[in-house]
Symmetry: C2
Amino acid sequence: PRTEEKMTENGVSSRAKVLTIDTMNPTVKKVEYAVRGPIVQRAVELERELSQGVKKPFAEVIKANIGDAHAMGQQPITFFRQVLALCSYPELLNDSTFPEDAKSRARRILQSCGGNSLGSYSASQGIESVRQDVARYIERRDGGVPCAPDNIYLTTGASDGIVTMLKLLVCGEGATRTGVMISIPQYPLYSAALAELGAVQVNYYLNEEKCWSLDISELQRSVDEARTHCNPRALCIINPGNPTGQVQSRQCIEDVIRFAAKERLFLMADEVYQDNVYADGCQFHSFKKVLFEMGPEYSSTVELASFHSTSKCYMGECGFRGGYMEIINMDNEVKAQLTKLVSVRLCPPVPGQALMDLVVNPPQPGEPSYDNFIKERTATLSVLAEKAKLTEQVLNTVEGIRCNPVQGAMYSFPRISIPEKAVKEANGQQPDMFYCMRLLEETGICLVPGSGFGQKDGTYHFRMTILPPTDKLKILLDKVKEFHHKFTQKYS
Amino acid sequence: PRTEEKMTENGVSSRAKVLTIDTMNPTVKKVEYAVRGPIVQRAVELERELSQGVKKPFAEVIKANIGDAHAMGQQPITFFRQVLALCSYPELLNDSTFPEDAKSRARRILQSCGGNSLGSYSASQGIESVRQDVARYIERRDGGVPCAPDNIYLTTGASDGIVTMLKLLVCGEGATRTGVMISIPQYPLYSAALAELGAVQVNYYLNEEKCWSLDISELQRSVDEARTHCNPRALCIINPGNPTGQVQSRQCIEDVIRFAAKERLFLMADEVYQDNVYADGCQFHSFKKVLFEMGPEYSSTVELASFHSTSKCYMGECGFRGGYMEIINMDNEVKAQLTKLVSVRLCPPVPGQALMDLVVNPPQPGEPSYDNFIKERTATLSVLAEKAKLTEQVLNTVEGIRCNPVQGAMYSFPRISIPEKAVKEANGQQPDMFYCMRLLEETGICLVPGSGFGQKDGTYHFRMTILPPTDKLKILLDKVKEFHHKFTQKYS
């Protein structure tokens, strides 16, 4: 009686599926992730059609939807790849064409691996020598503020660390359910993870008029409102900002820390774009450094997790899924629980750990690879800075598009005017989704609608990476310009 | 008023932490993972003490707690590592010392990567050409049963796939909460994931007297009992077995499939040890193959997910975190949800995907690397077969230890007699934990107590990998023998 059977025409009984959309995990259904959503699926289809010779109004699809540097032609850092090759196939340690500093780095990594192999599991928290190198990197970066390797957890990209931290924080039911404050616009990993964990998403809005800066008064409004229906316990900050490209001032960070202390919020600082700062007068300040400069009242009490990754900055090694998180002032019992939790997944990918090690411990002055490393890093970062400026400039020449300066990170998030008639035409679809879908079909350009990141009601945006090669980026910007004109005319 | 402040002696106000053991996620607290639990933490401490010159009754710690082949001295497959080096540093494609088949394989993998770089994100489901290769491998393995690349999801090791599938299945509350049937003894990833997801763990016991085989009557007892308090929806099988080392007969698999169909259970087949079969008369049969041989009544209805990995078999590449799952008869809407869910984490590590590709598409007859590949694979597997036999034989010479044949996988799970006096001495600790901890302190051998995997009440076991090099394995087995004698005498 447990099976609902019916006979089909060929006599085979057909059972209702065990797992259907109605009987699956309801929290998974609530998850949304626009960066790889329907518009990207359509872009992949279009690519396939083009390769099959189907006629389109464009010759190629340009994907500016995701911060995927190498896919857009950015070259990997030679030294990093040499060391990875040496670690993968240690026979190459006898090859005289590899520089000595790459070899000594590879030997050091292999010595930290069980059986001297990248193929061994590491400690669940990550290879100890890598965590030591990460700690020293953080100390240098933060002007000597101490960092304990024991507070470093290597992760499978930053996403893994962020989800793990959120997982620890979620508890309670109904009005005591954990709320997590996230910026709007946000990187949709946050909303997706909160939906899956069943936590309450508490929005605070960045100020588009002031270059997407963060106002403490808005944080206050947000947390006060949230307290009427949930228990806000964590505050997430992305700096430099994704998708907004803003870089927070030191003062702003200090104010945020003071706010977190006053309101008793666990701080999560997503700092994966820490080397991606382009605008004059802007500088990256880590939350850790500012926290410690504020003195023991804060540095010994405010709980902070900060996240970094091998995927962004000048290296752009997304595919290796390397990353780390540093935890500050975490309760010792909770830390033991965190260590236990990460042990269930055994360990982060070891090649990604090796790469993270190279990022925090690159060639030093005097070493054979130093000059070339600096040359490659500088070239990549200065091209990115040029493209950040170019993107802002061209988009701001378009009537109906208004783009804040891309101070950092890899994205612009311009505001676009969508005529009332187009909003109606969208017919229930988000108007900026309708806009981006039309753009894709007509030009082959793949952007992500602002609605996937969150935005003030009645405003529309898209996120566009600045990663395409300069010549292609120019074409892309011109096409967007032309499309926007035509779109506006059509629906006016 | 929200902060509970008090002044400490140095005048710094101390706030209660936001995140404490009492306010953290309660489901995370319930997670346990013995394979990396307290006994392993103690082993790491002992290693550190030894390296600092602290005197111990042993000269080294031998970790036989985890299936970590390379850490135990197993050598990687040369061809795999050559291709990985070529993919990491494509300059090497000009190096004449690399064989042509390794180069052509590397070129093919790189062509499937964005910007020809392992550093690009792949599709969230995994690189398409790798999924095609996986599908062809499964078809060959299963005697031609068709496999669609679209049903393949590449994963971050098998663990990731298993947790993802369980996540989809969990719903309901109270008596309708999803129950998941797992074997006892089990691999503790399952219990850990179910605890974290808040699903109901439904135990079925393997029959130790019959070489850890699976009895359908026990499945029936288990599911009937479970239905009184939850909604059993999935049945997990590990074959070859971890920690038990048993290999299921074709008949047993057919019976399990029939049972799953009758009771409407989603089948999850953990088949990561599919190449690790040693005993005469034993053979690996995939659930997929048997399902399709049973005809359309089953093959078109029973929902199945099967899991594989780069971490075990002859390759033992745990650190790369490569793996795949194949899903059969999954509802299309659920599949779309699965694809969406995996997209949030962007993609599995690309080097692990490349390695998975090599495992399913190794050198072919006639290719330059073929002979050496076969030689290396055969050597590794035959040494494992020897060690499986050796382990069983030596352990069975010990009075008070009874060890089933290690038919497959990489573990023995012998039953040990623990004297009543030792059980009392354990003083609330699990008696086999007490036993293993004494073993570690006295001999430096690190095993995992059976209580970490589950066992019938009043029985005691440990799990021991057969991976140490033969000479070390012999020493280890002798030490266990000696320890068991002394332990038994002491507490008799």
